[in-house]
Amino acid sequence: MTKDTLTFRKVWRVGANIDTDALAPGAYMKHGIEVIAAHCLEVHRPDFAAGVRPGDVLVAGPNFGIGSSREQAADALKQLGIAAVIAPSYSGLFFRNAFNLGLLLLTCPNAETLQENETVQIDCKGMPFVKNSQGQILTCQDVPSFLMDMVNAGGLVNVLKHRMADKAISMPG
């Protein structure tokens, strides 16, 4: 994520208050993530799951991810290859879940100026920003380094794996 700042990414737009039932509908929760992902956002955008391509970004209004603790809501976006979500604000629970799964969320006050189908670039090397198709810079809030590390590691599972391995090595005998 931090290395490919020059990639042009296609924008998918949704509105405000996108809830976890829209991202991971309850009726499919008994299935694996592939099935859940195929129904991701269908209540708002039936074209999304089939049309989205790896590396695309999802741009939303405020309060993205409100509702349930089901992390499949974030996992479905990751499964579909979404490179980042860009929105003015998130549910706190969804925010934790997304980073735990290695999905980058950018908190961008002017996210809603971005248009459907617009191509944007994102940069997280320093203070994160989004560059729109006219080359204008939209600043984003800083992402704490331990959360950025989690994204770069591919999520908390990989962080824990390293931690467990370190523990095994450091244990006597």
Binding site: D21, K30, V43, S69, E71, S89, V157, L160
Partner: protein, 437 residues
């Protein structure tokens, strides 16, 4: 989370007192004082997960990272989302959950006896001062017991069960101070819907909400739980209420020993602590109803008298505890629901249902025409057994998102159990105060 996570704490407030939230986090982090904004690692006193978020997801991940549960005594597993099984997939999830519970030799498993947020305190697992996590978004319910409890996803739960630790950013506190007495028929659910309408679905901004004032102190534990429960719908991380004599009496009633009750931590927000304070007058509050498709879409009940529900649903951790069943029975005693309305009651726990039966509450509901459903999440979770195409539902549950409790055409109105009962009785969304007049 619009403020995202900022690591620096505000050192300038050091001389001020602490909030209930700060004191709970300080204890769990092993610090004498914590500042708003600090990011800290906390020791977890209790981790709760259920059949959907729990073993089926944790087992493969634990194996993958080569870890075991840090302390089985601090884990509670509740089977409530997929029970009773409605199809082969649900059956498989339940079987996996039960097999893993046996394999892990979990000492605390509550199977098909009620909804996690209700059975957890009912079995005496929550103690004032605790720092807890739950694999479910309504985990803030535990805040009613003076515990810092919040919901997390399955991967973060993996981190907790592997290490016994979790990070938290010390939140600001939004202190909701309620004064005076509620009118007859007006419930904690109405207070909460009113606050959600005022602050919005994410108005809590993942900070701490604290409920205080004489109105709150006068509520029983289950009504307090309704406030804390729906803090989730305000986007707060936790919904806290300082433990007091009512909390102690509840703990005693569920068999927690006097010794443990004495040793618990009864923290309170200091007068000098920095909070955002909001005052409410309880006597001014009308019954509230949230229209489709958001809990923040709330107005006083009178706005919806034209709506004729086909289903009246009393269910969920939010709205089918013993206190909720009693509130509905008080409205329906000696009466029958209107023609064309189907009244469904899914008591939140087997113990609450047994007590309601003993008090004659269940018989009143059945005589009024209620069908009684299993002690589980049922239609509220939306995992199955949901409402039919085109249904109009008045429900005592917490969420009315489009498509959650059935097809997108289902219209769900949220209200208190008393308002659901009054609406079932009248055949339209009705003001419960008129039934008592």
């Amino acid at each position: 989370m619009s403020a995202a996570v900022e690591i620096r704490g505000d050192r300038s407030v050091r001389t001020r007192g602490s909030t209930l939230a700060q004191k709970l986090i300080a204890r769990a982090a092993g610090q004498s004082h914590v500042n708003v904004g600090d990011v800290l690692t906390c020791q977890v006193d209790l981790a709760m997960f259920h059949d959907s978020s729990g073993p089926r997801r944790l087992k493969p991940m634990l194996a993958d990272i080569g870890a075991e549960i840090w302390d089985k005594n601090k884990v509670v597993l509740v089977l409530d989302h997929y029970v009773p099984a409605r199809d082969a997939d649900a059956e498989k999830i339940i079987r996996i959950t039960r097999d893993v519970a046996k394999e892990w030799q979990l000492p605390h498993v509550i199977d098909s006896e009620g909804i996690c947020h209700v059975v957890l305190p009912e079995r005496g697992h929550l103690k004032p001062g605790y720092f807890c996590v739950g694999g479910d978004s309504h985990s803030p319910t535990g805040g009613a017991f003076g515990t810092y409890m919040f919901g997390i996803g399955a991967t973060e739960m993996l981190g907790v069960v592997a290490t016994g630790e979790i990070w938290v950013q010390v939140p600001q506190t939004l202190r909701m101070v309620w004064h005076g007495a509620l009118q007859k028929g007006v419930c904690a659910k109405d207070m909460m819907l009113h606050m959600i309408a005022k602050f919005g679905m994410n108005g809590g901004n993942y900070q701490a909400v604290e409920f205080a004032g004489d109105t709150v102190r006068g509520l029983g534990m289950q009504e307090r739980m309704t406030l804390s429960n729906m803090s989730a719908e305000m986007g707060a991380q936790v919904g806290l209420i300082a433990a007091d004599s009512t909390t102690r009496a509840y703990l005693q009633s569920v068999g927690v020993s006097d010794e443990v009750i004495e040793q618990s931590h009864y923290f309170e927000t200091d007068d000098s602590a920095e909070c955002q304070r909001f005052d409410f007058e309880a006597s001014q509050l009308s019954p509230q109803v949230a229209a489709p498709h958001s809990p923040e879409n709330t107005k006083a009940v009178g706005a919806y008298a034209h709506v004729k529900p086909s289903v009246a649903y009393i269910g969920a951790c939010t709205g089918a505890k013993l206190a909720d069943l009693r509130a509905a029975a008080e409205v329906l005693k000696g009466r029958k629901v209107a023609a064309g309305v189907q009244l469904l009651v899914a008591p939140a726990s087997a113990r609450d249902q047994a007590q309601a039966a003993k008090e004659g509450v269940m018989q009143i509901l059945i005589d009024a025409g209620a069908s009684v459903l299993p002690n589980a999440c049922g239609a509220c979770a939306g995992y199955g057994g949901t409402f039919e195409e085109g249904a109009t539902v008045i429900s005592s549950t917490a969420r009315n998102f489009q498509g959650r409790m059935g097809p997108a055409s289902v219209q769900v109105y949220l209200a208190s159990p008393a308002t659901v009962a009054a609406s079932a009785l009248k055949g339209y969304i009705a003001d419960v105060r008129e039934v008592f007049a």
